[in-house]
Point group: C2
Chain length 295, copies 2
């Protein structure tokens, strides 16, 4: 059940789309309706899993294929902007860093699903993040996304005008993911996710090149976020929640925290621990997907 | 001569930086002061050339090495977030798409130059863009960057508060680059560059998944931009201009236009023409660099 439909604001692919762009080319994926049989390759998609790093998403796809004993595609992207892997009903597409890069990946993924004839894909972001008052290694399943101005909206500027759209996420999917977390003994928390527009000043780090605030300002800000219900900070959640909501697609954000920002700014964990943390969103999400799809 | 110094607002690396982060790790480059002899590898840098695509920047580095008959490094990045190549005094680092991704690359590049002991590096962005009233293939050397709200500032949100910083670019460097363009018979224009936060709605494209504006709104917006002196649209210029200005580093933005947005939204040029267009910023910038450095 898609909890977002209740908003009644699902937007169909735009009216110019089918009239003007019969020969639509997905520029940042490097292929289009004229160069690839999109329904044949992507028509059976049920889940699109996404996250920042291209290397991690290649790895996730390979792990999933091995676990489910199904083949993993080659990189299906024909551009160097994103990677795309497919394992049965699951697409693995990285989105780079920040909402602008993610927005391109989402728009082209939505167009891809449209061209493929996929009706209700579920989108899940599996990411890394900085924790706010939770121990490193915690997997935060987001209730909603908060923008840098501390509003629960995604801010777009279109034709010079500011437009704000809601960022709530699907409750049923979140609860199902938390349930799987418990079964797998993965430390899971729910809470708001703050979306910053940069890694350093926007997250009040003290280790950037620029820093015109004081150490106590940083801690005051993090305490404020924590009091507002924020459990982690990353750089994509508002756009991800807003775009999937507009399209009427069920979605979730599942990010592991690599550090507790209350304790520091640099990620200081041993390589092995880092890898185990990076695996947690994958273990949680893929257990859910395998349960749902029976593969 | 660095025209930005006249602003008198050059910021030094932050006060916490040297106290707290003796063991500074450049997280998105995958190395730090403890894992690489940064002065030995990067100490002779004079220019940092940057742009979105990792593949294009590998190619640019290889072309430059071949032309100047000097070696090209392997990819020096130890993370999959960015690529870093070095050819003599020139670093080639890609920045991904959008200001958040660029902001990370710039902060870590500025920290890299600081650790390397490089005093006054010049930063040049070589990109692709959509033209506004100029023919495809035009190389726009930006006078300044305009944000999506049509102000000549870069908007940052720090601790929940909106901060705006100037985005003017170095006049002397711009004029020198235009001079080289003339010598090389490359079609060059100067003008403002608009920085959008997404590729589709933020640039009023009609071929995205979402589109709640009309075709005539798109043309009205593009005409308005053109009247304001905008010659091209991309997704990084405000942050690039503002950060290099704050650091007191001479900088320029040199983007080729792949289409005239007055005529369409999709890039529809033959592969060979595309490659020749992509070469233009490279040919212009490297001719300037070789003139300056004598290599």
């Amino acid at each position: 059940m898609n909890g977002l439909v209740k908003n009644g604001n699902v937007e169909k692919p735009n009216k110019y789309f089918d009239i003007k762009d019969k020969r639509d080319f997905l520029y940042h994926f490097g292929f289009g309706v004229d160069t690839l049989d999109i329904p044949a390759v992507f028509g059976d998609t049920k889940f699109v899993c996404t996250g920042g790093s291209p290397g991690r998403f290649k790895l996730y796809a390979e792990w999933f294929a091995k676990e489910a004993n199904i083949p993993c595609s080659e990189n299906l992207s024909r551009s160097d902007r994103f990677v795309i892997y497919k394992t049965g009903p699951v697409c693995w597409i990285n989105h780079g860093m920040g909402t602008p890069s993610l927005s391109i990946m989402l728009v082209e993924s939505f167009k891809l699903m449209h061209h493929a004839g996929v009706k209700n894909p579920t989108f899940i972001r599996l990411g890394t993040s900085g924790g706010v008052g939770v121990p490193p290694g915690t997997v935060v399943v987001s209730t909603e996304a908060m923008n840098a101005e501390l509003g629960d909206t995604y801010v777009q500027i279109i034709a010079g005008k500011r437009i704000e759209r809601p960022t709530q996420l699907d409750a049923a999917l979140r609860e199902a993911l938390c349930e799987v977390g418990k079964e797998k003994s993965i430390p899971v928390e729910t809470g708001k996710t703050m979306c910053a527009d940069d890694f350093y000043e926007g997250q009040m780090r003290l280790d950037g090149y620029f820093c015109d605030y004081e150490e106590e300002d940083k801690y005051a800000f993090l305490r404020k976020l924590n009091a507002l219900g924020v459990r982690n900070i990353e750089m994509e959640s508002t756009c991800f929640a807003s775009f999937t909501c507009r399209a009427g697609f069920q979605s979730a954000i599942v990010c592991v925290t690599l550090l507790n920002r209350m304790d520091g700014d640099q990620v200081q964990i041993a390589k092995e621990q880092y890898i185990e943390y990076e695996e947690r969103p994958f273990r949680l999400v893929t257990a859910y997907i395998r349960k749902q799809t029976g593969i």
